[in-house]
């Protein structure tokens, strides 16, 4: 009788963990090399989880408690340049404090992966979720994705490394996670085994871009006005290529792990035949989906589309999922003061994406859930009713609404 010496691959382990702890598991599985920490709620729970993994010997990385967010991001930026796989992150004003380092990273083509535990910007002092912090990198050359569940957080972290470190891309990637709603809520998460992750995620190889005495290159020389256009253009080309690389990564991920099979860019919920569609990102999907189900029971053709990647922006998918509706309401957990129509950031992105369609739905801006305010079922009903009225009358009374604000 022959005995197989090959161990059967261990099954996924189910763990009751928070979104941040799920990301920490992804970092363990990705065998990151350098990680930096600096406290700010709600992102810092990921670093607490990482610290525990390191102190227990479950993760082998240089773990550096930095003196500020600026230091944190500069440390990993340089570690990435010598070829190390790195991670760091922040929230709210911490993310802002690091902004200089964050802004230069894409041009250096360093595939840093960072978590933004979304938090309102001080002042007024607030710990609650708002998306304006992470949105500040929207125009800086970072890839930017938002996750909805702890499972998606873990999976997306693995995917983020795969895409960011792909030589065709070499761009940093930020993962937006709603403060408290996702960062702190515990749910059951499938934590895959290391062999599967190794199959999915090759080692980071910086190749001839690596800073090392064997490869004595000069990184970030002064180019003045001579080369900035070309550098920005290359950054843009990488961002354009990211679309295909993201699709590839999700395809492989699905093959290996059996999850993340749908469209990588948008999640569409009862939207195919909907007259009106609510559109948004992050954890507001939970109340919105429940609200949509209830309204469907009452016979209203309401649907929901959740944006998963904001950069690169999935224009074809957004056009495709929204074009059939009569009215679209974009729910933003952020705001853009003084912007067109006094709308918010996603709203303006969506309107711009739909502009070229021969037949466009009406688009309304809903500013909702700022500073961590709950997006309630009542809010969902209120927004849907506004949209249903627009769909019925074909008239937009008001381009924007603040939902759930005290009188």
């Amino acid at each position: 009788m022959s005995v197989s010496t090959k161990a059967a691959p261990a099954a996924d382990q189910e763990m009751l963990i928070s979104g941040c702890a799920a990301i920490a598991q992804a970092l363990r599985l990705s065998d990151i090399d350098v990680v930096t920490a600096y406290p700010i709620r709600p992102y810092d729970t990921v670093m607490q989880a990482v610290a525990k993994l390191i102190s227990n010997g479950e993760m082998d990385a240089e773990y550096i408690v930095a003196a500020s967010e600026h230091d944190q991001f500069e440390i990993v930026k340089h570690a990435s340049a010598v070829g190390a796989r790195v991670f760091c992150g922040s929230s709210g004003v911490g993310w802002m404090y690091a902004m200089e380092a964050i802004a230069v990273t894409p041009a250096l083509r360093l595939p840093m992966v960072a978590l933004v535990g979304n938090r309102a910007l001080d002042d007024p002092g607030a710990f609650g979720c708002e998306h304006n912090d992470a949105l500040c990198v929207r125009d800086l050359g970072w890839m930017l994705t938002w996750v909805d569940t702890a499972q998606e957080a873990l999976d997306t972290a693995l995917i983020a490394y795969r895409v960011a470190e792909d030589r065709r891309i070499f761009l940093p990637c930020a993962i937006g996670a709603d403060g408290a709603f996702l960062t702190h809520s515990e749910v059951l998460v499938k934590v895959p085994n290391k062999e599967k992750v190794d199959q999915f995620l090759p080692k980071y190889d910086r190749g001839d871009k690596m800073l090392h005495p064997d490869n004595p290159i000069t990184i970030a020389p002064q180019v003045n006005e001579d080369w900035v256009m070309e550098i920005r253009k290359q950054n843009d080309e990488a961002m354009r290529r990211a679309r295909g690389v993201i699709q590839e990564a999700y395809r492989d991920f699905h093959k290996i792990f059996g999850r993340q099979g749908g469209n990588p860019f948008v999640e569409s919920y009862m939207a195919e035949d909907a007259d009106v569609i609510l559109f948004g990102q992050g954890t507001l999907s939970l109340p919105v989906k429940v609200g949509v189900r209830k309204l469907r029971e009452q016979g209203h053709k309401v649907g929901f589309v959740r944006l998963r990647w904001l950069r690169p922006f999935p224009t074809p998918e957004v056009q495709e999922t929204l074009s059939r509706a009569k009215a679209v309401g974009v729910i933003d957990r952020d705001y853009s003061f003084g912007s067109p129509n006094h709308g918010a950031v996603l709203y303006n992105e969506v309107r711009s994406a739909l502009y070229d369609l021969p037949k466009r739905p009406h688009v309304i801006s809903f500013v909702c859930g700022l500073g961590g305010r709950e997006v309630t079922l009542d809010s969902v009903t209120e927004m849907s009713e506004i949209l249903l009225k627009v769909a019925k009358t074909g008239k937009v009374e008001q381009p924007n609404y603040w939902i759930g604000v005290r009188g």
């Binding site: 600026h70 500069e74 340089h78 340049a81 990184i219 002064q222």
Partner: protein, 353 residues
């Protein structure tokens, strides 16, 4: 798990024994666009030569970035990367940590690689102070932070920094009709402050490129001793200090001879003056600061009164400070008394034996 390497070994860089023994290889060569007579550029050249080829150099924004790494004509032969104005400390930590992780995981060859991050006085003593201070607390990484001090934000057109000498004419402190002296702050003691505040930092020194060999050997010592280390160099800057470039070397010497710039090193907590500063500390007469100040256009508006004030401050530094150039604290009477009492007790005990 990979083999545990808590601290990597360093290169054993022995002191150069005389100018004639210097290697001919340069690792900072042609292609840069610094002003004629720029001592900071000389510091870069000597620093790279002292460190040798197995080195990674990181430079924060300033003249030594802007003028040295123009695209297509970088002057660095060793690998070089830019870091943000206030990030020399973080750049050093990140690079050392990245290399260490990769070596520990056997992804690159295990070998001692010098990591040097440099910054100007603006980037180092002002904006980057916190980052440098933090960096000097990580004993597990080997790197040197060198602050080249041309005493102004030179690259942005000579604005005053916290390292600019009292009263100097800069674009942020021009002498005017109503106020001759706009800048009344006294320079910080960077090296002393960093040495005193960072017990894990095994080596801190001040250097002056007019004494090139001594300077290079201090760099070699810092890199050999390992852990986080710091060196502060004083660099005459013809543009900012306003003098004929031919005088750079002389001014570097004068800074030491007048006692304005004391040369010292602190190795494992033990402070030593060296070079001419050693003889000054032992009683050799200092040249009057007037000779140093009046050779620079930035002090051209000084009256005798201003020069006297400057001289008085330098005298104070040498005569009253706990450690000239490093620790500006005098002993209070009770501490002095305590120390004398302790000395008396020791003397009494010795007499008894």
């Amino acid at each position: 798990m990979a083999t545990e390497l808590t601290v990597l070994p360093t290169q054993n860089l022995e002191a150069f024994k005389g100018v004639k023994k210097l290697p001919v290889e340069e690792y900072f060569t042609s292609g840069h666009r610094t002003c004629q007579g720029c001592e900071s550029a000389l510091v870069m050249k000597l620093m790279a030569k002292a460190a040798g080829p197995r080195t990674v150099i990181l430079g924060s924004t300033g003249c030594m970035y802007v003028a040295n790494t123009t695209y297509y004509s970088t002057s660095w032969v060793v690998p070089w990367m830019h870091t943000q104005l206030g990030s020399s400390g973080s750049a050093a930590v990140g690079t050392a940590a990245g290399l260490k992780a990769l070596m520990r995981k056997n992804r690159i060859k295990q070998e001692p690689i010098n990591v040097i991050a440099f910054c100007g006085d603006g980037g180092g003593a002002d904006m980057g102070l916190s980052s440098i201070s933090a960096a000097l607390t990580y004993p597990e990484y080997n790197f040197l932070i060198l602050m080249y001090d041309n005493e102004s934000y030179a690259n942005t057109d000579i604005q005053l920094s916290s390292m600019t000498p009292y009263g100097a004419n800069t674009t942020f402190s021009p002498p005017g009709k109503a106020r001759r002296i706009l800048h009344k702050r006294w320079k910080k003691n960077m090296a002393g402050m960093l040495a005193a505040g960072h017990p894990e930092c095994r080596y801190v020194a001040t250097v002056d490129a007019s004494y090139a060999l001594e300077m290079m050997n201090r760099i070699r010592k810092a890199l050999t001793i390992g852990g986080p280390t710091f060196i502060h160099s004083l660099d005459p800057c013809p543009k900012g200090w306003d003098y004929d470039p031919i005088q750079s070397h002389d001014l570097g010497e004068l800074a030491v001879e007048t006692g304005v710039w004391p040369l010292f090193e602190i190795e494992d907590g033990v402070l030593k003056f060296y070079g001419k500063s050693k003889s000054i500390a032992q009683g050799r007469k200092r040249k009057p600061v007037r000779e140093y100040l009046l050779r620079q256009g930035r002090f051209a508006h000084f009256t005798d009164e201003d020069i006297d004030y400057f001289q008085k401050k330098i005298d104070l530094m040498w005569d009253r400070w706990l450690i000239p150039g490093a620790v500006c604290i005098e002993m209070g009477d009770d501490i002095r008394k305590q120390l004398t009492r302790a000395e008396q007790e020791v003397a009494a005990a010795e007499a008894k034996q």
